[in-house]
Amino acid sequence: MNTDLLRILPEVVLVVAGVLVMLIDAALPAAARRRPLGWVAALGTMVALWSSILQLRIEPGTAFFGAVETSPFTVFFHVLICGIVLVALLIALDTLPRDSHHQGEFYALVLFGASGMCLLTGAVELLVVFIALEISSISTYILAGYRKETGKGPEAAIKYFLLGSFATGFLLYGIALLFGATGTTQIYEIAHRAATAQNHTFVVLALMLMLVGIFFKVSAAPFHVWTPDVYEGAPSPVVALLSTAPKAAAFALLLRVLYEMLPDLRSLWMPLVWVVAVASMTIGNLAALRQQNVKRMLAYSSIAHAGYLLVAFTGLGASGIAAATFYTAAYAAMNVGIFAVVTLVSGYDDQLPLIADFRGLLYRSPLLGSLLVFFLISLVGIPFTGGFFGKFYSFSAAVGGGAVWLAIIGLLNSGVASAYYLRLAFTAAQKPEDGAAAPRFAAPQIGAAVIAALLFTVGTTLWLGIAPEPILRAAETAARALQ
């Protein structure tokens, strides 16, 4: 039992920290400032991150009767998710309205959501998978509607909730069918029985239903329609979290389902992944070209990035898994970074940042402008940034797996994508218009916490672009653990 608890230590730490935040929040007088709660949450996340690294010391294995697993794979994703949550908390610390009385709930919800995401990456029992997914989803549904005084906030939350529940229903239905077909919900057992089964009809049907649920969570086309609305309505610090951490967890689940549960059906699920990857990249990029609102544009960009990530799945075995894992990390670093910048430029307020509002940013605020351009360059996939190596490994895995056309489509897509990323970058670089009215957004206040968040994301993006060797090795170790 002792090691059982150790195997879910990060989740436990996150939940305890979340409960602590809620208790302190309740105990504080109504007039007290709630900001220190954010530091408690950040501290809790750091402890969780550290405890997941500690998990490397115990032997890989399962706990709670084969329900949860620890392996280099889960540790990789735990560290990634805790890192994202930490940065999102740091952004929120400096940008949430200071007088808000809901801050305690905000930080607690982030922590509870993080525990669900962490659990999702470690779960090897489909019912635990479902529960973990719900824990993470429900927190994010609420967080998406956090700006409830505006019209867009509740709209985002309700859309996300309705569509999300519907998609989770598909997942659950798939799990039920799989249980019917194989008589178990334990992933290793299913893998074993599916490999020896004669007839795959129900397994395939179940897999397709499950994929609907998972593709929804990673916002891959054609299950992506919620993304722009939710990103537009949710506060920017939440979007930084929403667009990365739950997706990382869902991609971990997808890797587990495809490569660990049903690797023998590769020839069957490969065309599906191929089609979804092409659809996500193309629809995401083409739609993003037309957006005037920066948050919606980045939403479509995240759909496209889900597509690039799916390209890696066509790679053979470990190289595909490693590429997908690495891409998740690279994407998270740059996407959290750019949302941090967008948050700082447009503020937490309900004003929607248009591309035109960014004109002259590089002149008004050279620091933020340079950071914006830097993250956009990484999203384009220019060498010496994390975005490049993410794409590089992903497409390289695809070419190695024989999907040359997919790689070509993907790279042409990244050419299209550069048009809208750089339209924003070049707008920011342009001289401010002469005699124009003062910019809609006041000069941003940059605090210590958000500086730390920016340093962390810039550092990681550069590190992944210049010396990706350690992370690549970690991703490969994780990949081997999954096989």
């Binding site: 590089l362 002149y363 050279p366 340079s370 351009v373 360059i377 384009v380 220019i382 060498p383 010496f384 490049f388 590089f392 490994y393 497409f395 390289s396 070419v399 190695g400 040359v404 790689a407 070509i408 790279l411 042409l412 990244s414 050419g415 550069s418 048009a419 750089l422 339209r423 970058a425 070049f426 707008t427 670089a429 342009q430 001289k431 010396a467 990706p468 060797e469 690549l472 090795r473 490969e476």
Partner: protein
Amino acid sequence: MNAFNDSILTLILLVPLAGALLIALLPDRGKLPAWLALITALVTFGFTLHLPAHFIVGQPGFQFEVNRPWIESIGISYHVGVDGLSLWLVVLTGLLAPIGVLASWNAIKERRKIFYALFLVQQTAMVGVFISLDLMVYYGFWELSLIPMAILIAMYGRKDGAKAALKFFLFTFIPSAPLLVAILWLYAHTGTFNFAELQPLIASGALPAGALFWVALAFLFAFAVKVPIFPLHGWLADAFSEAPVALAMVIAGKLGLYSMLRFHVGLFPEQTKQIAPLLIALAVIGILYGAFLALVQRDYWRLVSFGAVSHFSLIVLGIYGLTLIGRDGAIYQTLNQGIMEGALFVLLGVLYSRYESSQIATFGGVAAKLPRAAAFFVITSLAMIGLPMLNGFIGEFLILSSTFTGVSKGWAIVATLSVILGASYALWLVQRLFYGPESPLAAEKPVVDLRINEWIALVPLAVLMLVMGIAPNIWLPSIESSMNQPQTKQTASSPHLALPALAQAVASGKEATR
């Protein structure tokens, strides 16, 4: 000295980057970033001069080579080196950096910090392109070279910088997508990104020829857009009109031309032979098309850009004639072109900063106000039209004579028309800008002739035009020492090119036709 030889290329690569970081960290106060950039650029130029001083002429293969694993698990290594092909291009890049800083000295008035930091990053990227021998590292610098350029065009564009920047970026970025797939395909089939290992592997014919054709085409396409050659030149005129002078002088030409020689002709000799006739045709069309369009332009930036298309096409003709002399001439003319465009852009920048107009019709009689600028402009124009004793002549002569003797008399004769057309538009431009009756614009604006910084920038370029025209022997032997590659038509005894180049080239041409 040996240790220095090992690290010299890394120094040339990293010193500008370090300078950029320093500029980024120090406050944006007055001329401080400009001074820092100037010092960095001069130090780097000093380092680049070490290369020709210690280059062993006639030794085959790469020199100053460094080969260290970078990202071992996927076989990317930091492999750099220079040979006769890249040697002088690195020096040229080093020379144009301080000149670019001096040309920007008064032109860039705001956000100097960003400008000079990005300018130095651009230097690193270009040097990286010239010295990288690992395809991934090469691709990295190739892409990186787009970024500072595009951002600076957007920031300092004259009219609509953002639009021109986007056009420039898309035109050059999208073709590099097939290039990356091609590189990945080569890696998937050979397991290496190393140029020195790939060359024999491809030559050995172990790879499927059908696929290799497309791979070579992907390489060529990316380079052809970057040069640019007809009909892929759509981005050039806008980029020239909007780019700050210091960047316009390096935006086109040498990166693409070098890459053609190294990574298309050098890596895929068989595929090159298949496609060479097409490129020769496109080059000749480009020579005439560019020159004709240059004749009718009303804006001098656009005129210069079409003139550049014409000149670059001539170099492409030299490359794809696949003769030794043509190749020599192409490399030499690439260097010439860098120097002449450098001077031309400094001078046009002088005009633009004084009169804030690029409409040729608004000028006239400026020579009375700017006699020194006019003198430099005339020298540069004469070099561009290939006047003997100036550098343009040597390159053009080598290319045209090699085409005549080694490729096709017809194409050569048509291409030679460009000499007449080139003289027409260049001299007509000089006449319309500097001479004739004084225009209202020239009459009403009080202007100063060349400032000290512009003077310092122009003198070395003018001197080089003369020296390179009189004594090409200083350069040609080291350029030739990269010639022992299998794809060229002539073999073994490479004809030693020396002045009088005329007699030599004709003689060796006869040798080739025998």
